[in-house]
Amino acid sequence: MNPEQFFRASGLIIVAGKGGVGKTTVTAALAVAASSVGLRTLIVEVEGKDGMTSMFETGGLNYDELILVHAAEEHAGVRARTLTPDDALLDYLSGRGLHRISNRLVKSGVLDMVATAIPGIRDILVLGKVKQLERTDEQDLIILDAPAAGHAISFLRSARGLADAVKVGPISTQAEEVLELLNDRRRCRVVLVTLPEETPVNELIETAFSLEEEVGVALGPVVVNGVLPPLPGLEVDPHAAADETGITLLDEEPELLAEAGAFRRSREAIQRTQLERMADVLPLPQLRLPYLFSSELGREELDRLAEELLTGIHALPEGGGA
């Protein structure tokens, strides 16, 4: 599938996955990939985390937009901002004539009370604000780095919950509009991220089914992060492999190579099993990202991951992105 077409299939991509699977990295890589095929991309981060900026080697992230990749010949540009629930709640109240007292509302704890009285209101306000951004012409694609998996479901379910609970008034309208956004596959898709290991895959499968059934949101391809690149030569014993090429292994080398090779193959076997199991259970295409052996993740690594995503998207069947 053509990558530009893939990214243009919806104006919003929500990236979700359990903690530790590299959700933020995947968000960043998707943004770089989209920008490189001509989409002005905005990353929205909702937990007030700052991990994103070190990858782009820029300053800190906050409520104001920050440019992560400048628009240039080969890039349409990536911008990023945070949008925490508190930001959204204040934004919402001040938009409704409570601006003057909004500071007092925060200090006196009334905001906490409101948020407790209506669970999900913070989430719905974040999504409401995202919907508002989505309606503007400031970018071609918004990529939302969603809260960690367990919370992602309640985050996305908040719209339905509120729409059912509150039948009239501005909150109800907001919930209905967010629900419309989530249920429209031409406007919004969820991309789930996982690692090729048993527990993350289990959680991914559970999350995928609850999102489809309880939220009714369209799922894009699954991004599998940290897949070991294949090394077919490991099938051959180091001694035999050395003989094939006509070189001699010194001292402890054969043992060292055999040990490292056996370990890698056992990890690969686990990965293979999990990837196959996931393909069996979930009828979603997979985009695989290679395991990076470098301990730091900077712009260079990000560009490489974006490149891998584009290759993976190319290989998807037509219409496989939606």
């Binding site: 359990k18 903690g19 530790g20 991990g51 109240l93 409704r96 409570l98 007292i101 509302l105 006196s108 704890g109 009334v110 009370m113 409101v114 948020a115 407790t116 009285a117 209506i118 669970p119 960690a148 367990g150 509150v166 009239v168 008034g169 501005p170 290991e197 048993e198 527990t199 289990n202 959680e203 090394l231 077919p232 030569g233 490991l234 099938e235 051959v236 180091p238 035999a240 492999a241 050395a242 094939e244 090429t245 070189i247 010194l250 402890e252 080398e253 060292l256 190579l257 040990e259 490292a260 090779g261 370990f263 890698r264 056992s266 990890r267 686990i270 052996f293 470098s294 301990s295 993740l297």
Partner: protein, 368 residues
């Protein structure tokens, strides 16, 4: 030198903390299991909604009360999965003046939101459960797996924050009989409530006010309990153990966590780094084939089977070195606390046997 095993042996409570995805739940289970193998009566509280611990223990569904895990060990092991709401319900029942008051609170919509959806409630109930098991039951060791909180404050302050929330001045004002100066304040507060009601709906605000009315008189009990929980968390027999992985971002989060604990005058008593890349041969120092040398041979021999072998070794070496570098600051920061590095295992941890293998890696062999 103090080992992690010494730390656990000397503790009555172990709190496992760290970011998500580092094996915190499994580690907590391992610590409880090892205590049972050492003849103690141990219980582990898990908070993970994915029921991973239940899987590893071969239990279908853990509940909010401890269930005994059968196994071939001299001690006893119990496990439970924290149910935030029923733990909170238990507290309400305990501190209410009569069943009628408890009933009114439990049925209130606002209360139901607090007990299930308010942020911090899970942390609060985790420490509440911990307190209940440590002080009111007969366990030698209580291990608690904390919610994947980024900030130690969230966990440590949760009881007070909630107690404060329940005891808020504003609600008092709303409910005080309107006389004199209080009346003026009340009028202003009522105005705020009135404008809020327009935006969010009158029913929800009414529910909230009804809750605080019903809750009247119980705040003191809650506050006192929070103070007790506090005392337990900072007690000498309570050990905070950091769980991390060697990835740069989780190391940074663990360091941040340690710093916040220190602000609360709590020292990290141990650090467990899970999922370490194995170091083959003698390690990075003076090894025959370092990452650069291996990589160079891989390049020269690219496209051959032996080239793949060198790539494999180079990848492993490079990763191991990067991980060691990532960990330097953190291990120095928690010193003199013992640090245990656990290599990635070539198996998935899905049963008791696997937990025992990990147990020996983390706490050493059980002495006869």
């Amino acid at each position: 030198m103090t080992t992690l095993s010494d730390v656990v042996d000397a503790s009555h409570v172990v709190v496992c903390c760290g970011s998500g995805g580092v094996g915190k739940t499994t580690t907590a289970a391992v610590i409880a299991l090892e205590a049972a193998r050492r003849g103690r009566r141990a219980v582990v509280v898990t908070i993970d909604p994915a029921r991973r611990l239940a899987d590893a223990l071969g239990l279908e569904g853990l509940t909010n009360t401890p269930s005994r895990i059968e196994g071939d060990w001299p001690g006893e092991m119990y496990a439970l999965m924290l149910d935030t709401k029923s733990t909170f319900d238990g507290l309400v029942t305990r501190y209410s003046a009569d069943p009628e008051q408890a009933g009114r609170i439990l049925a209130n919509g606002f209360y139901q939101n607090i007990s299930s959806a308010l942020s911090g409630t899970q942390e609060y109930m985790a420490s509440e459960k911990l307190y209940e098991l440590a002080e009111e039951c007969d366990y030698d060791l209580v291990v608690v797996d904390t919610p994947p909180t980024r900030n130690a404050h969230d966990f440590l302050d949760a009881p007070h924050r909630l107690a404060h929330f329940l005891d808020h001045r504003l609600y008092k004002v709303l409910m005080t009989p309107t006389r004199g100066i209080v009346k003026a304040v009340n009028v202003a507060a009522q105005a705020v409530v009135k404008s809020l009601s327009k935006v969010v709906g009158g029913a929800v605000i009414g529910d909230a006010i009804a809750f605080f009315q019903a809750f009247e008189g119980m705040e003191e009990g809650f506050k006192e309990r929070a103070t007790h929980v506090d005392r337990l968390l900072s007690a000498e027999e309570t050990a905070f153990i950091l769980v991390a992985s060697p990835k740069a971002d989780t190391v940074a989060e663990a360091a941040y966590f340690a710093e916040k604990l220190r602000e609360h005058d709590i020292e990290v008593r141990g650090l467990i780094v899970n999922r370490m890349q194995p170091v083959f041969g003698q390690g990075d120092d003076g090894m025959a084939l370092g990452p650069e040398a291996a990589r160079e041979r891989a390049h020269t021999l690219a496209g051959t089977a032996i080239g793949d072998h060198y790539t494999c070794l180079a990848d492993a070496r490079q990763l191991a070195r990067g991980e060691a570098e990532n960990l330097v600051g953190l291990t120095d920061g928690v010193a003199p606390a013992p640090v245990v590095r656990v290599e990635i295992q070539p198996f998935e941890v899905t049963d008791l046997e696997a937990l025992e293998v990990l147990g020996e890696l983390i706490l050493g062999p059980v002495e006869p």
